[in-house]
């Protein structure tokens, strides 16, 4: 019964999402496209950054590899195989990146992931200009015939990413990853092969992130290295997961929802306020402020805080019942 009840909310939400394209304009369909896409990538990040507690600030590396793999291969091998190739290539690239970065811990791991993503950004812009067209941009073949269909592509991607992380997180592997997050040395002492499980989480995460990158590129139609390899992509994925709740199942979706709608509302409502200068910059200023406030007052994120609060209340009710002799 309890297992069944756990499925009710996700299925209701999914039905709601499936109804949106029939009522929303293309503009809102695109907003939902980005919510689903980044929620999906957020789910992927959550495996490494949330459950395993390894703060990757360089997920743009996998996102960009997926995007360029798709863009470069789609004209030659077709769109379906190109997405597959994007998944394979981003997963394969995660192996050496993981082997290098996971030798480091804490802030050093975070720094190494930034350095890797930045290195790829510079290489894609300059050294591999022949392949990527550099900052001039590369034309990307579409995935679906009608732009409004990307809504469904992103929704499907998010559902798959959610299912994969939910399965992993609630399995033995998920508990191993959480043990690594809480105390890596102790996890090792109780014979968890910590390097292996961290790498496993990163490979799955990179696979999903690479697919996300290919969908992003196809929807955009043309990409530059700065669109997909930039720190802005890495940071957005991290911030939405933290805002929603890192290491919680639904956190990335809640975070993506709030961030996309908040930034859309902000950009529209302050676009004509001239004394603010750049409306976009003002939106990002508030974005930064939001991050600061969340870390200071709600580090568990929205879902994490609600869960804590409910747990506290349940314990309270339980205590009352016990003392009352019920």
């Amino acid at each position: 019964m309890k297992r069944l009840r756990a499925w009710i909310l996700p299925i209701l939400v999914l039905i709601l999402f499936a109804l949106i394209p029939f009522t929303a304009s293309f503009y809102y369909q695109q907003i939902f496209f980005y919510i689903f896409l980044f929620a999906g990538v957020g789910f992927a990040w959550n495996l490494v950054g949330g459950y395993a507690g390894q703060l990757s600030l360089g997920h743009a590396a996998f996102f960009g590899i997926g995007a360029y793999a798709y863009a470069l291969l789609a004209p030659h091998i077709g769109t379906g195989p190109a997405v597959l190739a994007a998944a394979v290539l981003s997963t394969v690239s995660a192996a050496p990146i993981g082997l290098i970065c996971f030798r480091l811990r804490g802030p050093y791991f975070a720094l190494a992931t930034i350095a890797v993503a930045q290195l790829l950004l510079v290489l894609a812009t300059n050294q591999f200009k022949g392949l990527t067209q550099g900052a001039a941009g590369l034309l990307v073949q579409g995935m679906v015939p009608d732009p409004s269909l990307y809504y469904w592509v992103a929704l499907g991607f998010m559902v798959v990413a959610f299912a994969v992380t939910a399965l992993l997180a609630t399995s033995k592997t998920g508990y191993y990853l959480m043990a690594i997050r809480e105390d890596e040395d102790t996890a090792q002492t109780v014979t968890i092969n910590t390097p292996l499980y961290k790498l496993y989480a990163l490979l799955v995460s990179a696979l999903l992130t690479g697919v996300g990158g290919s969908i992003f590129a196809a929807n955009l139609g043309t990409i530059q290295p700065n669109d997909v390899f930039s720190a802005a992509i890495s940071n957005q994925v991290v911030f939405l997961a933290i805002l929603g709740g890192a290491g919680t199942l639904y956190g990335p979706l809640v975070g993506a929802f709030i961030l996309e709608f908040a930034s859309d509302w902000l950009k529209n409502s302050v676009a004509n306020v001239t004394w603010l200068g750049d409306a976009n910059a003002f939106a990002f200023f508030l974005y930064g402020l939001l991050i600061v406030l969340v870390v200071m007052y709600m580090p568990a994120g929205i879902v994490g805080t609600v869960a804590k609060w409910r747990k506290g209340r349940a314990a309270h009710v339980h205590a009352q019942r016990t003392t009352a002799g019920v």
């Binding site: 802030p107 050093y108 510079v122 911030f239 200068g277 990002f284 930064g288 600061v292």
Partner: protein, 286 residues
């Protein structure tokens, strides 16, 4: 030409060195993982730019203004935000300071737009010639001031009572508190000092480096590269790390092309993290 490139690298590296030394106090010594360090360098650059364009103040005079303003700003940021999470996980340091960095970057973009701004000094295009070696006067003055700042900082940390307190907290905060050191106040002071040095570095960089809102992120990463290369907790190491990165960047850019200076910097950083994580002069860590 090889020698000339080395000299240019050392001149630039001296400025990188004080960018790194500021972070060395904050990260290496106080263990605050400050991802907004480069944004404070940027703040110093904009302060200097504004004073120069509005009042014609020479950047080497406004270094003092940068120092004081960034010192106050740094202490305020510490007191309001960082102090509340300093005992928390390092992940939260990173996220909080990245948020502060985002705020500063976009505040700069709101005020100054995304234009690359430079200042033109009467002496910024004049060179001194020493037996075939050309040395730009703006670079030379920045180099000399950077050397003085580095020496003063080293003296402050090593010889003064406050510096001793800072080193004591970095070794063992609880024991330092038991010996009568006001940990919060000294940590706030140290953070402010690190930020003030970042601001001065920004001032010294402006005559030779443009400023736009994106320089903050670039300098943040650069500062971490320098601190890790030099060795955690070693201020002298950061100075050497900065000089080294300056030389590497100049050599790569001269012999391989501009974009290779970034490539080589990141590759060196990853190699150091992998094979010599304690850095050049660092003690063991973690």
């Amino acid at each position: 030409m090889f020698l000339q490139t080395i000299v240019n690298g050392l001149l630039l590296g001296a400025l990188y060195a004080i960018v790194g030394m500021g972070l060395s106090i904050v990260f290496g010594t106080m263990r605050i993982v400050n991802f907004a360090h480069g944004q404070f360098v940027m703040a110093g650059m904009y302060i200097t730019y504004t004073l120069f364009t509005a009042f014609g103040l020479d950047p080497y005079v406004s270094a003092l203004v940068s120092f004081v303003l960034c010192f106050l700003l740094g202490m305020a940021v510490y007191r309001v935000a960082i102090h509340r999470i300093i005992r928390g996980p390092e992940m939260n340091h990173i996220l909080l300071t990245a948020g502060i960095g985002l705020m500063l970057t976009n505040l700069a973009q709101m005020v100054y737009n995304t234009n690359q701004l430079t200042i033109n000094l009467s002496y910024s295009h004049r060179d001194l010639v020493f037996g075939g070696l050309r040395i730009n006067i703006a670079y030379l003055i920045s180099f000399l001031i950077a050397a003085v700042v580095a020496a003063l900082l080293f003296w402050f940390i090593m010889k003064t009572e406050t510096g001793r307190a800072i080193r004591a907290i970095s070794q063992n905060a609880a024991a330092a508190a038991l010996s009568g050191i006001h940990v919060t106040r000294v940590t706030m002071l140290a953070f402010g000092l690190g930020i003030a040095v970042a601001g001065v570095a920004g001032t010294l960089l402006l005559p030779i480096h443009y400023v736009d809102p994106s320089v903050g992120d670039a300098f943040s990463l650069l500062a971490f590269i320098i601190v890790v290369l030099g060795g955690m907790g070693s201020i002298l190491g950061s100075a050497i790390g900065g000089l080294l990165i300056g030389v590497i960047a100049q050599l790569a850019s001269y012999y391989l092309g501009q974009s290779y200076s970034d490539v080589l910097t990141y590759v060196v950083f990853l190699l150091v993290l992998l094979f010599k994580p304690s850095g050049l002069l660092g003690r063991s860590r973690v």
